[in-house]
C-alpha cells in the first residue's frame, strides 16, 4: 500500500472505498512499538477480522459434529450409560473431554463465545462506519470513468450544467443519494444491503441472548395424571423437575391448576403401520391464578395449553386398571386405579398394586399386600403366544396379577419406585400346587387369596392416564424476534446491490459536451450494466448525441473493442 500510486489509481481507490463496511485484512502486528497494548490491539484486530470469523465459524460447525454421533446426556442418559459400559476405555476419555455433553462443554462454549465476541467487536465499528457513510456523501467520480465495470459515453450539444442537472434530477427520482462534485454527479444506492447485513448480525446476538436467558431461567417438570385427577403448579406436585441456574423457586412457577377429564387415543387399525397412534388428546379443565374461572381446553401432541408463557404438553399416556382389594370378611380395604408403565408400543404395561394399610389377614393381623401387575389392552387369546399386547387400544384387556404379603418396606425411609414391588420383606401367596399365586383376570373377574386372606378384583372400566410436561422458557420471544430479524436482514443483505453511478459532463474546446456515465457495484453483476443502460437512455433523451464531426479520423483512433467482445458477435 505504501507504494506510490498514480493519481488515477488513487482516485479510483477512493471511488471504490467504503462500498462495504467489511473490515480490511490486516496481517502486520501493529506499528513499530510493541508493548502490551500493541499486542492487545493486534490480538483484538485479529479476533475481529473476517478471517478469524471465518475460522471460528468453521470450527463451530466442526465442533457440533461429535454431539450428533455420540450419545448426549442431555437428551438420553440411558444411552450414555450403555455407551460407557460398552466402551470401558473410551468412556472415561470421552467423559474428560466433555463429549457426552458437547453443547455445554468448555470447548464448544469457548468457540461460540469467541465468535460472538468477535461479532460484537466487528459490528460496533461497522455500525459507526455505516452511520458515517449515511451522513457523508457518495465519493466523487474517479478520474478515469472508463475503468469502471460499466461505462458509456457520448457527445452532445446540450450544455454541461444542463446535463448534470438532468442527471441529478433523474438519479434523485430513482432514490439515489446524489450530489454534484466537481464536473460530475456522484450517486449511490442500495444502503439497505449494509443495513440488512448489520441487522442480521445484530439479530444473531439478540437470538443468542434469548436462548441464554431461556437456559438460565427455564423450568421443566413432568406429572402423571389419571383421568379425573388434577394438578396444581407447585414444586411439590411434580414427579420430576429441573430448572435453569437462575430459576427462582418461589416466584418462578406460574400459578394455575387443571384437571384431566378425559384422554383419547386412536390407532391405525390396518396396514403396515397398524398400531401407530393417530390421535392423542387430553380434555382438561383449567383455571389460571389461585382461583380463576374454569375453562375447558384440549391438549394435543402438537398443541400445548399455553398459560402466560408456560406451556403444558401432552407427553405420554398409559392405562390404569382399577383394582379392588377385599379382606377375608369381604370388606373393601382398597379401591384404586393403578397407573402402569407401558413397556412396548402396543401398551403392554407393568407396575405394582400396593395396599399399605387397612388390611388385616385371616388371623386378624395387620399386614401389607403387594401385587405385581402385568397388563395388556389387547390380549392375543389364551394359548396364543405370550402375554404381550397385540394392539394399543382397549380391545381385549387382561390383567395378570401375582400376589405377595408382608411388608412393602415403604416405612424404611428409602424412596420407593411406585411402579415396582420390593419383595425382600414379603412372602408369596401360594396356589394349591405351592407355586406363586397368579392369575389372568378379565374385567370384572376376581382372584381369591388362599386361606381366607381375601380377594382382588379387576374392575370393569380401565382408566387412562397421561403425562404432562409443564415447561417455561423465558426469552423465546427474543429468540424469535432475533430469528425474524436475521431473516429480514439476510434478505436485504443478499438481494440488494449497493452501487454507485457517476455522470460526468465536460465541455470541450469545440463547445461540445462529452457525457460519461459509469457504474460500480460491490460485485460484478449483470444488473449493473442494465441499470446503467436505463439511466443512460434517460439522460441521453435529454442530451441527445451530437453529430459526429468527422466520422473516420477520430473513431479509428479510439475504438479498440477488446477481442473478447468481438468474439461474442
Amino acid at each position: 500500500m505504501s507504494k506510490t500510486n498514480t493519481p488515477e489509481e488513487a482516485s479510483e481507490q477512493e471511488a471504490v472505498a467504503q462500498l462495504s463496511t467489511a473490515p480490511q485484512e490486516d496481517r502486520t502486528p501493529g506499528s513499530a512499538k510493541f508493548g502490551v497494548i500493541g499486542w492487545a490491539r493486534w490480538f483484538w484486530r485479529q479476533l475481529t477480522s473476517m478471517r478469524v470469523a471465518l475460522i471460528l465459524l468453521f470450527l463451530l460447525s466442526l465442533a457440533a459434529i461429535p454431539g450428533s454421533l455420540i450419545p448426549q446426556s442431555g437428551t438420553d442418559q440411558m444411552k450414555v450409560d450403555a455407551f460407557k459400559k460398552a466402551h470401558e476405555h473410551l468412556g472415561p476419555v470421552y467423559d474428560k473431554l466433555g463429549l457426552f455433553h458437547v453443547y455445554s462443554s468448555v470447548w464448544f462454549s469457548a468457540i461460540y463465545i469467541l465468535l460472538f465476541v468477535s461479532l460484537i467487536g466487528c459490528i460496533i465499528p461497522r455500525t459507526w462506519q455505516f452511520v458515517g457513510q449515511l451522513r457523508g456523501r457518495p465519493p466523487g467520480a474517479p478520474k478515469r470513468l472508463d475503468r469502471m465495470p460499466a461505462y458509456a459515453t457520448w457527445r452532445t450539444e446540450t450544455g454541461a450544467d444542463e446535463v448534470r442537472e438532468a442527471a441529478l434530477t433523474l438519479l434523485r427520482k430513482r432514490r439515489y443519494r446524489s450530489h454534484v462534485a466537481g464536473s460530475a454527479v456522484a450517486a449511490e444506492k442500495g444502503y439497505l444491503r449494509e443495513a440488512g447485513n448489520l441487522v442480521f448480525h445484530i439479530s444473531l446476538i439478540v437470538m443468542l441472548v434469548g436462548f441464554a436467558t431461556g437456559q438460565l431461567f427455564k423450568s421443566d417438570g413432568t406429572k402423571l395424571i389419571l383421568e379425573g385427577d388434577g394438578f396444581a403448579n407447585t414444586l411439590t406436585q411434580y414427579d420430576d423437575f429441573s430448572s435453569g441456574n437462575l430459576f427462582d423457586k418461589d416466584t418462578g412457577l406460574e400459578p394455575f391448576s387443571f384437571t384431566l377429564k378425559d384422554f383419547t387415543g386412536t390407532y391405525e387399525r390396518s396396514g403396515p403401520n397398524k398400531g401407530t397412534a393417530r390421535t392423542y388428546k387430553a380434555d382438561v379443565v383449567y383455571s389460571e391464578g389461585a382461583d380463576g374461572k374454569e375453562k375447558n381446553a384440549t391438549i394435543k401432541v402438537n398443541e400445548p395449553l399455553k398459560i402466560n408463557g408456560t406451556k403444558v404438553f401432552l407427553s405420554g399416556h398409559g392405562y390404569a386398571p382399577v383394582v379392588t382389594v377385599r379382606d377375608g370378611k369381604g370388606k373393601v380395604v382398597s379401591k384404586q386405579a393403578v397407573p402402569l408403565l407401558p413397556i412396548d408400543s402396543n401398551q403392554t404395561s407393568t407396575g405394582a398394586v400396593k395396599v399399605m394399610d387397612g388390611y388385616k389377614n385371616g388371623q386378624g393381623k395387620k399386614e401389607q399386600l403387594g401385587f405385581n401387575a402385568f397388563f395388556v389392552p389387547t390380549f392375543a387369546g389364551s394359548g396364543k403366544g405370550d402375554m404381550f399386547s397385540q394392539f394399543p387400544a382397549l380391545d381385549f384387556p387382561v390383567l395378570a396379577l401375582s400376589a405377595y404379603h408382608g411388608s412393602l418396606g415403604v416405612d424404611s425411609g428409602i424412596p420407593q419406585n411406585v411402579y415396582q414391588l420390593d419383595t425382600t420383606n414379603m412372602k408369596q401367596f401360594k396356589d394349591s400346587k405351592g407355586a406363586l399365586l397368579k392369575k389372568r383376570l378379565l374385567p370384572g373377574e376376581s382372584m381369591k387369596l388362599p386361606n381366607g386372606a381375601g380377594s382382588v378384583t379387576f374392575e370393569k372400566g380401565v382408566k387412562e392416564w397421561a403425562t404432562f410436561e409443564v415447561a417455561k422458557q423465558p426469552g423465546t420471544d427474543w429468540a424469535l424476534i432475533g430469528a425474524i430479524g436475521a431473516i429480514a436482514g439476510l434478505v436485504g443483505s443478499l438481494f440488494i446491490q449497493r452501487r454507485r453511478v457517476w455522470v460526468r459532463a465536460t465541455t470541450g474546446d469545440d463547445g461540445v459536451t462529452v457525457v460519461e456515465m459509469a457504474g460500480l457495484g460491490r460485485s460484478e453483476s449483470a444488473k449493473l450494466p442494465e441499470e446503467l443502460g436505463a439511466l443512460v437512455d434517460k439522460v441521453h433523451a435529454r442530451a441527445p448525441s451530437a453529430p459526429e464531426p468527422s466520422a473516420d479520423s477520430e473513431d479509428s483512433e479510439t475504438t479498440a473493442v477488446p477481442a473478447a467482445e468481438g468474439a461474442e458477435k
Binding site: F58, A150, Y151, P272, L480, L490, V536, T559
Partner: protein
C-alpha cells in the same frame, strides 16, 4: 376395507406407475442429453483457450479507452452503448462456452429433445407425487420415499424454471437427469414405503412449511453444488491454459462447452445465496414446530444438529466470499462441504443416527 381405503390403494398404485413412467422418460432424456454432448463434440470450439492464450494479459486489454459508437456511422439517434469491463486481475473476460451442443445443429436438436423430455418427465413425476399425496390425504412428506420423489421433482422444477427465465443453464441437464435417476432408483428400491398416514407428532401446519421449504432448499443447494463442482473443473482447465499447459482432449471437448469459470462461480454463488435466507427460515420453522411438538425448541437432536452444521457451513461459504484470500476455489470447497453436510443430514442422519426425527420409514 372400506371404499375410501380402496380408492386410496388404487391411487397409490397409480402414483407408483407414474413414478416408474417418469423414470422411463428421464432415462430417454438422459440418452438425448448424451446425444447432445456427443454430437456437440464434433464442433471445435476453443473460445476459452483462445481468450486465455492468444490474448495478452489483462493490463493491455484494459488499457484502451472504449469509445462506444458504431464504426463510421453518423446516426445521431444511436443510443450510447454500455461497455462492461471485468475487474482487473480476474479472468472475467473469458467467454462462456456455447453449451453442450457446441453449436452443432444435430446436437442442439437432441438438446432440445432432452429438455422437452425432461419437462415431460417432470409433469409425470409431479402427477405421481400428487396422486401419492391424494392417496395418503396429506402432504407427501411423511417418509424418505416421499421426500425423495418430491425432492427430485422440485430439483427438476428448479432447472426448468431457470430455463424458463431464459437463464443459460442447459449445461445442468445431464448431471441433473443422472442424479434424478439415481434418486428415484434409490427411492423405488431401497426407500419404498407403502402409503400411510402420519403419527400425531408430525401433524402440524408447520410440517407443510418446514418440510416443503427444506425440500426446496435442498433442490436449490443441489443445483448450486453442481455449478460449484463444474466451476472447479473449469477453473483448473483455465488455470492450465493460462500456465501454458495442454489439457486432455476429453477435458477440452467437455469443458470448452461449459460456461466460463467466472460465470459458473457467479451462478453457484447466486443460487446458494438466494436460498440461504430460506434455509435459515426452514431451521427456525423447524424449531417452532419442535417447540410445539416436543416442548423444546432446540434439543440438539441429530437432525437439528446437522441442519445447524449445514447452515453454519453455508454461512462460512458466504463469509469466505467476502474474505480476502478465500474467494474462488477455497470458497468453492466450502460450498461443496456445506452441500455434503446437507446430504448427510438427508440420508446419513436418517439411516445411521437415531433421533426424534426417525420417522424415515427405512
Amino acid at each position: 376395507m372400506n371404499l375410501a381405503a380402496a380408492t386410496n390403494e388404487n391411487l397409490a398404485q397409480v402414483s407408483n406407475v407414474l413414478i416408474y413412467s417418469s423414470m422411463a422418460v428421464y432415462l430417454l432424456a438422459f440418452f438425448a442429453n448424451m446425444a447432445e454432448w456427443i454430437f456437440g463434440s464434433r464442433s471445435k470450439t476453443g473460445r476459452a483457450a483462445a481468450a486465455l492464450t492468444a490474448q495478452k494479459p489483462a493490463k493491455t486489454a484494459a488499457a484502451p479507452a472504449v469509445q462506444v459508437k458504431k464504426n463510421g456511422s453518423t446516426a445521431v439517434l444511436e443510443r450510447p452503448q454500455v461497455v462492461t469491463r471485468a475487474a482487473s486481475g480476474s479472468r472475467g473476460d473469458v467467454p462462456d462456452g456455447p453449451g453442450a451442443s457446441g453449436g452443432d445443429e444435430q446436437g442442439d436438436l437432441y438438446g432440445r429433445i432432452a429438455v422437452s423430455l425432461t419437462a415431460l418427465g417432470f409433469l409425470i413425476e409431479f402427477c405421481g407425487v400428487l396422486t401419492r399425496a391424494l392417496s395418503v390425504q396429506r402432504a407427501p412428506w411423511g417418509n424418505m420415499y416421499e421426500f425423495s420423489i418430491t425432492f427430485s421433482t422440485v430439483a427438476v422444477g428448479v432447472y426448468l424454471a431457470l430455463l424458463a427465465m431464459k437463464k443459460n443453464v442447459r449445461w445442468l441437464g445431464l448431471p441433473l437427469v443422472i442424479t434424478v435417476l439415481l434418486d428415484l432408483g434409490l427411492a423405488v428400491t431401497v426407500l419404498y414405503t407403502a402409503s400411510d398416514q402420519l403419527v400425531p407428532a408430525l401433524h402440524s401446519y408447520w410440517l407443510y412449511i418446514h418440510v416443503s421449504t427444506a425440500i426446496f432448499c435442498g433442490a436449490v443447494f443441489y443445483v448450486g453444488a453442481v455449478g460449484t463442482l463444474l466451476y472447479l473443473f473449469k477453473d483448473s482447465y483455465e488455470n492450465k491454459l493460462v500456465k501454458g499447459g495442454t489439457p486432455g482432449r476429453f477435458a477440452t471437448s467437455v469443458l470448452e462447452r461449459l460456461p466460463a469459470s467466472a460465470s459458473l462461480d457467479k451462478f453457484s454463488y447466486r443460487v446458494n445465496a438466494a436460498v440461504f435466507p430460506l434455509w435459515t427460515f426452514t431451521i427456525i420453522a423447524g424449531a417452532i414446530w419442535a417447540g410445539d411438538a416436543w416442548g423444546r425448541y432446540w434439543e440438539w437432536d441429530p437432525k437439528e444438529t446437522w441442519s445447524f452444521i449445514t447452515w453454519v457451513a453455508y454461512a462460512c461459504y458466504l463469509h469466505a466470499r467476502a474474505t480476502a484470500g478465500w474467494k474462488g476455489r477455497k470458497a468453492a470447497y466450502l460450498a461443496l462441504i456445506a452441500f455434503a453436510c446437507w446430504l448427510f443430514n438427508y440420508y446419513g442422519v436418517n439411516i445411521f443416527v437415531s433421533g426424534k426425527h426417525s420417522y424415515a420409514g427405512v
